[in-house]
Symmetry: C2
Subunit: 110 residues, 2 copies
């Protein structure tokens, strides 16, 4: 869990992860990620390995490319952990984003 937090607590990796989230389960090949974010190959590989160790991304080989995609199950567990362990007796207070469709516009608990 700490590993997942640490993995996201870094500008470059957070950017990579967010980009992958945008692209959903189909993901992106390493080259495209590096191109979009202007990260040299070795640096990128280093961060991808870090994200992989934290199980925040999933890698699959597709012909000559290696496609990375976000692992939604891990981020989900991370959010669950924060909600349960870091919100005390009133988790509701911490999850204003819970029902965004109904609550966001009315401004439930800003």
């Amino acid at each position: 869990m700490i590993k997942a937090l640490a993995a996201l607590a870094q500008e470059t990796r957070l950017a990579i992860f967010r980009l992958l989230v945008e692209h959903g389960p189909s993901g992106l090949p390493v080259g495209k990620i590096g191109e979009r974010l202007a990260i040299p190959p070795s640096t990128l590989s280093f961060h991808l390995k870090e994200l992989d160790h934290a199980e925040l991304v999933i890698a699959r080989q597709e012909s000559r490319f290696i496609i990375y995609s976000a692992n939604f199950s891990t981020i989900s567990r991370l959010i669950g952990f924060l909600t349960e362990n870091c919100c005390g007796a009133a988790p509701q207070n911490c999850v204003a984003a819970c029902d965004p469709i109904n609550e966001a516009k009315t401004g439930g608990t800003p």
Copy 2:
């Protein structure tokens, strides 16, 4: 936001924060924290400053003691950020903990 992630991405600080969450708004004086977690004063002070910079804790002076308590608004915003930025098109998938009273016991999405 990255600062908050980084602050929690460290065993000692996460332990401190969780302890403070347990104790709610009344918080704990530095000495008690150090005692409970067996952290020497200077190390503890270092981590408390880090948590403070990340706005994850609130410090108040109470006579000779300095009382730290968890800042629930920041952790709430952090959870909101993760939910909105890291869960893609289907935030629902990431917030199984949303309705813990009704879903936790039935085991909605483990």
